[in-house]
């Protein structure tokens, strides 16, 4: 059983007890514990179930590489699945639940999977697609859905806050172990602006656990001293709990700072995503110990040897009372020595090497530990805990020589440098035969814009498993020079460590393991990939490591194969009969460990999830019943709903009142672009399909804009202000787009034309005063002459209306007598108030976008985005009157002459009127006889706009219909989505006041 030792634990505070819950049971730990160490202290060996076979799983590691101990953390708005217990700092009140089991962790029905394991081989998921076909839908899919998946998806809205921070520096050192500390010190002393990141809460990395001396002092003391030196440097910034997550082009780096995960009651953001630009990066990310592949290596109690001593030294927790150590290198002996010194039993050290190790082996032997060389674990016995190991010869096939009772197994398969951050942006690796691992190839680093490397690697991450500080010192000196600074004169601190003999690679234990052993020898714990799976994939022809990865899912779990990748590709290489470097690695992609979605979103949540653009009358609209409609980022009132009304009621009332009395429209969102210069007229003639250069100052003209491909992209009224100056109105959503469109043409094609453009959309509050009583309302306010004579239809004038500086446009999008009045935005609300007051006697009411739409549809006016969808040209809409025949060119002209655009079969705009007065469904298609090549019903038209018109008391619609204008009076059939078929007659699209008498008064 695992337990808390009476003494020890350099990171815990035994005076501060922390209560926490695991699967509903109350447990206690100490301040400084991780959830993993606290669980082990409570003899919780079984912490989860595996993904595919639901095998019992326990803690295997002590850091970011942990594949098994994933838990659901917290509840409600702070719930988060798949959190690694090994990197979760314990706090008082923590609640965690285990994952991937039903009904409970101890009794899991899904575990039956493991007896069916031979039916779930590598690639089983893909094989289920193949045959027998009906099995997929009825058997495989429901089964896979039931059993697959790790943690639960959160149900509630995330209650926490997050933020980004942009930071710029000369050098980022990733990793706060001894190598990172030394690298930061060298660069800091040279005067570089340095950011040093450490993913955990503690500095110094493994060195304080693994021992040895630096500069003649214990490693831990050296760490403390160096930290003090760095903290005193104003040009060095240190951040713990901050992980270097990803390295990107041009020295862009993401770092993930966990601010309150360890103290969730604290105020402030939970995570901060650092978005860093740096000249150089040093990754001092250390190394990760590899498991050994023997049968039963996934049974709870089998752990990495380094993790076992981490728990003892850091947390005063023993994973077992009798621990068998199995190793292929000298480092494993450190664990045996550590356990023995802690008073725990080590019945055996099994060293796969025939001749054993060096100084550390002698030290272990001197402590009285029995060491068997050339021996291996044949099989671990046990279910939810280790019971014993069968010892065999490493060179054999696994025949048991003896059985040793134990409750834990510490395995050391050698160390793999953490090359992830080096590799993210293209750093290449080289295979190191002596140390049996991939390490960064210094000659092929990720390249910056100048073609020089911008990432260097220091310490164990660079393969310097010994002499990490000296390695970091040398690396940092080179990097300092790359930044353009001079490294100081100091000499690298001397390191004292025991002599070690070389590792002997062991990819399978024992070397000739029988099939049934290989089928229980796990490579990837989280995704349940075994040695036998990789070998099967190789037999089935998956030779590329990337293909094998996807076929077997090796390394595809949330840990991204931190423990399994190297072992897996070694097995693959062996199966393919080729050396490991020829097989190569899979791609290392950011982030290094998963980061929260919240951190990626940053501040963008709640009220500031997205910018909401407000007009000057937004507040009034909001408190006067506005039913909001998003239009681009703007919010516009769809209708102003009064108490007791439905939205539909309100829309009908607004239309009727505007037609009979007078309505008020907040039209401030309409785009307003000033186009000025000697060539402005020429420029607008190119942008609009019709002629603008002939417009007289003081007059307005409606215009259409097309893309180069001829498609209608925007429309609006252009007012000529003076000889050189035009004001172009765009659609609400079009202002920024059309502004950019204009600038692009001016900057790239017509750069020699003298034209400037400015977007003044928001300078003005623009208010439509619409209806037969519009003039009367404005005249109540007094001021400029707004009579039909002084300001005829399609004219504009500047002047005063009441106390307001105003520009009045006589334009109409409703067919009524109508003015659009622009006043400075800072006076918009005041002017709106004045209009409401003046209009009281005339029955004035504000109206929203839906009433606007209905009134324009009654008049047969098109709407960009309704009648157009990016495939419609003006000719389709019968707008030939707005296309100049005199002009040599305009944007879209040539495209509109292409064969397809002049095809008489193109669908054209018509009005549609249901025979029974009902409203056609929006977007409905008119069916034609016969079917197309795909067996689908032929179509001959579709609805583009459809409304109930209160003015006409019936449904009206516009649509695009094949040969439509030639088929007036014909009845088309429009099937609805509910089985009903709507019948509608083709009519003229102008339903109301065809001659325009009402607007021209």
């Amino acid at each position: 059983m695992s337990l808390r030792l009476r003494d020890g634990g350099r990171l815990i505070d035994r005076s501060a007890r922390m209560a926490f819950q695991f699967d509903g049971r109350s447990l206690t730990g100490f301040a400084g514990d991780t959830l993993a160490s606290a669980l082990l202290a409570n003899d919780k060996m079984l912490v989860g179930r595996s993904f595919k076979y639901h095998r019992p799983r326990g803690v295997v590691a002590s850091g970011a590489e942990e594949p098994n101990a994933l838990v659901n953390l917290a509840q409600g708005g702070t719930f988060e699945p798949n959190q690694r217990a090994t990197t979760t700092e314990l706090f008082d009140g923590l609640t965690a639940t285990s994952q991937n089991h039903w009904p409970s962790l101890e009794h899991d029905i899904g575990a039956v999977n493991s007896s069916l394991a031979r039916f779930l081989p590598a690639g089983f998921y893909y094989k289920t697609f193949i045959h027998p076909r009906p099995f997929w839908k009825h058997i495989y899919e429901p089964f896979i859905r039931q059993s697959a998946g790790l943690g639960k998806a959160p149900k509630d809205r995330d209650a926490d806050r997050y933020e980004h921070f942009y930071y710029f520096c000369d050098l980022v050192v990733i990793g706060g172990g001894v190598a990172g500390l030394q690298a930061a010190r060298v660069a800091g002393e040279a005067g570089a602006k340095v950011l040093l990141l450490e993913q955990s809460a503690h500095w110094g990395g493994r060195a304080p656990v693994d021992g040895g001396e630096i500069d003649g002092r214990p490693a831990e003391a050296w760490v403390t001293d160096t930290l003090a030196v760095l903290e005193a440097m104003p040009n060095v910034t240190l951040r713990s709990r901050c992980m270097g997550a990803g390295v990107y082009d041009h020295g862009y780096l993401l770092a993930y700072e966990r601010l309150t995960d360890h103290a969730p009651q604290a105020d402030g953001p939970r995570h901060r995503l650092w978005r860093i630009r740096t000249q150089q990066i040093i990754t001092a990310t250390g190394a990760i110990e590899r498991p050994l592949s023997f049968a039963g290596n996934d049974i709870p109690g089998v752990m990495l040897a380094s993790a076992v001593r981490d728990y003892v030294v850091n947390y005063g927790v023993a994973p077992g009372q009798r621990t068998v150590v199995v190793t292929n290198n000298d480092d494993g002996y450190r664990t045996a020595i550590c356990l023995k010194q802690a008073g725990l039993d080590v019945p055996r050290i099994l060293d796969a090497r025939e001749t054993g190790g060096g100084a550390l082996m002698e030290e272990a032997r001197a402590l009285g530990i029995r060491i068997d060389c050339g021996r291996a674990v044949g099989k671990v016995q046990g279910g939810k805990r280790v019971k014993s190991v069968q010892v065999c010869a490493q060179k054999g096939s696994g025949s048991a020589l003896e059985e040793v009772a134990c409750d834990a197994v510490a395995m050391s398969g050698g160390w793999s440098p953490v090359v992830h951050l080096w590799s993210h942006c293209g750093g290449k690796l080289v295979w190191d035969d002596v140390q049996a691992h991939f390490r960064p190839d210094a000659d092929r680093p990720p390249l910056g814009r100048s073609g020089q490397g911008f990432v260097a690697v220091a310490g164990a991450a660079n393969g310097a498993l010994t002499g990490a500080v000296a390695d970091a010192d040398a690396m940092a000196r080179g990097v300092v020079q790359a930044i353009g600074l001079k490294p100081g004169k100091g000499i690298a601190p001397a390191e004292t460590q025991p002599e070690e003999l070389p590792i002997e690679p062991v990819w399978l234990m024992p070397a000739q393991a029988k099939t049934e052993l290989k089928a229980k020898a796990w490579l990837d714990y989280q995704n349940d990939v075994k040695v036998s799976d990789v070998q099967l994939a190789a037999r089935e022809g998956f030779e590329s490591v990337e293909h094998t990865k996807r076929y077997t899912t090796l390394g595809m779990a949330t840990d991204q194969g931190k423990l399994s990748n190297i072992n897996g590709l070694a097995i693959l290489s062996d199966a393919l009969g080729q050396p490991i470097p020829q097989t190569g690695t899979t791609t290392f992609r950011p982030p290094y460990t998963p980061i929260s979605m919240g951190a990626i979103a940053g501040e963008a949540r709640g009220d500031i999830f997205q910018p909401v653009r407000e007009t000057p009358m937004y507040g009034w609209n909001d408190s006067n019943g506005a039913d909001w409609e998003p239009v681009g980022h703007w919010r516009r009132p769809y209708a102003y709903v009064r108490s007791g009304e439905t939205v539909h009621d309100a829309v009908m009332r607004e239309v009727t009142n505007t037609r009979e009395n007078v309505g008020l429209l907040d039209a401030s969102t309409l785009g307003k672009l000033i186009v000025k210069g000697p060539d402005a007229g020429k420029f607008l003639d190119m942008l609009y399909t019709n002629m603008m250069s002939t417009l007289k100052p003081g007059r307005c003209r409606y215009g259409l804009m097309c893309t180069e491909n001829g498609f209608l992209t925007d429309d609006g009224v252009v007012a000529r202000i003076d000889e050189d100056t035009f004001l172009c109105h765009t659609t609400t959503g079009g202002a920024d787009r059309i502004h950019a469109h204009m600038e692009e043409w001016l900057q790239t094609e017509w750069w020699d034309w003298q034209v400037y453009v400015a977007n003044v959309t928001e300078q003005y509050a623009q208010i439509g005063v619409v209806g037969p009583k519009a003039r009367a309302v404005l005249e109540t306010l007094g001021g400029m002459d707004l009579s039909a004579e002084a300001l005829p239809f399609m004219a504009w004038a500047d002047g005063k209306i009441g106390a307001f500086d105003a520009r009045a446009y006589r334009v109409s999008f409703s067919g009524e007598l109508s003015y659009e009045i622009a006043v400075p935005a800072s006076r918009g609300q005041a002017f709106w108030d004045a209009l409401l007051e003046a209009g009281k006697a005339h029955g004035i009411m504000p109206y929203g976008t839906e009433a606007l739409h209905i009134m324009r549809a009654e008049k047969g006016f098109i709407m960009i985005g309704d009648e157009t969808d990016g495939t419609v040209i003006p000719q389709d809409l019968g707008l030939n009157w707005a296309i100049s025949k005199k002009k040599d060119d305009y944007l879209g002209k040539r495209a509109q002459e292409r064969v397809h655009m002049t095809d008489p079969d193109r669908w054209k705009l018509v009005g549609l009127e249901t025979v029974d007065g009902s409203v056609l469904p929006d977007g409905a298609y008119a069916v034609a006889e016969g079917t197309n090549a795909n067996g689908q019903r032929n179509m001959q038209g579709r609805v583009t706009s459809t409304y109930h018109s209160p003015t006409l008391g019936k449904g009206i619609a516009m649509g695009l219909v094949k040969h439509g204008p030639d088929r007036m009076g014909e009845v088309l059939e429009f099937p609805g989505t509910d089985g009903t078929v709507f019948k509608a007659k083709i009519v003229d699209p102008v339903f109301y006041d065809k001659d325009g008498d009402k607007q021209n008064v």
Binding site: Y166, E603, R613, S826
Partner: protein, 188 residues
Amino acid sequence: MSEAVSSLQSAEFEGLARVAEAGLQGMITLRGDLGARAVRAAVKAAFGVDVPDVNNVASAGHMGVCWMSPDELLLLCPHGEAEAKVAELGTALAKQHHLAVNVSDARAMFQVKGSGGREVLGKLCPLDFAPGKFEPGQIRRTRMAQVPAAVWMDGVDTFRVVCFRSMARYVFGALKAAADPASGVGVY
């Protein structure tokens, strides 16, 4: 006559820095050949300062000139004087191709004041706000969270932020979140 009002009517928030909508501000966009003697002279005559270098701001009293692009300046003056200044530029540059337009009401201005200001803005804009890297007299057109903005310093620990008027509430919300007292980064 009713008073003109700014977008958020001088709303403010106290956190890592004091964030306040700065009220009405006269602003004019001038586009033209910034190297032309006539343009430089007209700006100097109307605003009392020279056209600044790239990415810089020049100011004197209530008047200011901000470099916005190779052919664009943002001119600052009291709100009530903007129309007159536009007219003055129009007269002075009658023979010079240019565009001068009052954009005072198209924008909102914020002041971010206090020692935490560099961090507050560093959470929202992809700029280096480290002392020595960004100082009074410099201006950047940039992105503030999801919207365009211009930022400059008009004193030690005092930033000005200009955004579009319709986005004022969003920008104020983003600045408030960034200035949350419990969210100090501690690097400047």
